[in-house]
């Protein structure tokens, strides 16, 4: 691999990473470093923040400032980092459990405040780290270790939630579409304000096995079959049962720090 890319990896004996054979998280990690390289980000200027989970192990392999916080708390921690160091690109990566279950409130409020973060949600449809329990994105009717009678709960539409919360960009990609994934990561990082990227990823060890989809290869094929690129969609509505990839939503809104500074300045100047 090219040094321009390798320079973003911690190569002092941390690899091979701890993720399972065929797990999609490694693919996401790889496209993150390619995106860093394409964007020519200085290592010193990146801070990658995560909570707890398999997906949250990514920062440990990246050669920049990295912050492995508590389960669910990556976003408030990243908010602190961003406000302390506005010049850094602060990127949050975490699982569907980490960000959408225990961390959901933080996710939504950071979006509402429009904190200038890039939030990558690794959606593998279950809790990988703890062994395949149900998550907010486990499709209704799927199996998980804590839904042995099939999940009776409806799964989240991360897109709808993100949009309603006030994210300025929502994009989706999958681990089967690495080049697309890379371009979505770049888009999300470049976007000022709270941007969300959902990456559909395979957890062959649990979700794939428990639901008899199969190993990494089978799961990628499964993604491949179900994916539709938004640019090829004719209608306004998203087709049922498909994974629509691309930028599903984008808007402009003032980022928090800017709003904060403006508010303070306009009042404080008035006082003086």
């Amino acid at each position: 691999m090219k040094p321009e890319v390798l320079k973003y990896l911690r190569l002092d004996g941390r690899f091979p990473h701890i993720l399972c054979p065929g797990c999609g998280i490694g693919t996401i990690m790889k496209q993150m470093v390619f995106a860093f390289s394409d964007l020519e980000l200085a290592n010193e200027n990146i801070c990658v923040v995560s909570g707890i989970g398999c997906s949250s192990r990514v920062p440990g392999y990246l050669d920049c400032d990295t912050f492995h916080t508590l389960h669910g708390r990556a976003i408030p921690a990243a908010t602190g980092v961003k406000l302390a160091r506005p010049e850094m690109a602060v990127i949050v990566i975490g699982g569907d459990g980490d960000i959408l279950a225990i961390g959901l409130s933080h996710f939504i409020h950071a979006a509402r405040r429009n904190i200038d973060l890039t939030c990558i949600i690794v959606n593998n449809f279950n809790y990988g780290m703890t062994g395949g329990q149900v998550s907010p994105t486990t499709p209704q009717g799927s199996l998980a270790l804590t839904t042995p009678y099939k999940n009776p709960e409806r799964e989240f539409d991360i897109f709808e939630i993100s949009k309603a919360a006030g994210a300025v960009l929502f994009a989706r990609s999958t681990t089967y579409h690495p080049m697309h994934l890379r371009s979505m990561i770049k888009k999300a990082i470049r976007k000022k304000g709270f941007s969300v990227l959902e990456v559909i990823s395979q957890c062959p060890t649990f979700f794939g096995r428990i639901n008899r989809i199969g190993d990494g290869v089978k799961m990628l094929e499964y993604f491949k079959e179900r994916t539709v690129d938004i640019r090829t969609l004719k209608e306004d509505k998203f087709p049922e049962g498909k994974i629509v990839i691309g930028v599903l939503y984008e808007t402009e809104a003032k980022e928090f720090l800017e709003s904060y500074k403006e508010a303070v300045e306009s009042e404080l100047c008035g006082l003086r």
Binding site: L6, P16, L19, G22, G24, G26, T27, T175, G216, V217
Partner: protein
């Protein structure tokens, strides 16, 4: 931090593309093998990935892009 990427096994292919494999990183998931459009790759004796048909590689990079483990990469032949 000292940077060092583990030794890569280099395999040249007929069309000039070079395939680099880091055996220690390969977890034998089969993704590269399965999605290689030209069946260039396969498992070796040690159950790690290896080039089995050096003739066919077209340098499409898919294996590199899809490998979750930084275990395979491809240097495309320079166009002359």
């Amino acid at each position: 931090m000292k940077k060092s990427f583990p030794k890569e096994v280099v395999q040249n292919t007929k069309r000039g593309h070079k395939i680099f494999i880091v055996k220690e990183f390969c977890k034998s998931c089969g993704i590269c093998i399965n999605f290689c459009p030209t069946q260039t790759l396969g498992f070796g004796e040690d159950l790690k990935v290896t080039v089995i048909r050096p003739d066919s590689c077209i340098g499409c990079l898919l294996c590199e892009l899809l490998c979750p483990d930084f275990a395979i990469s491809v240097e495309k032949a320079k166009k002359v």
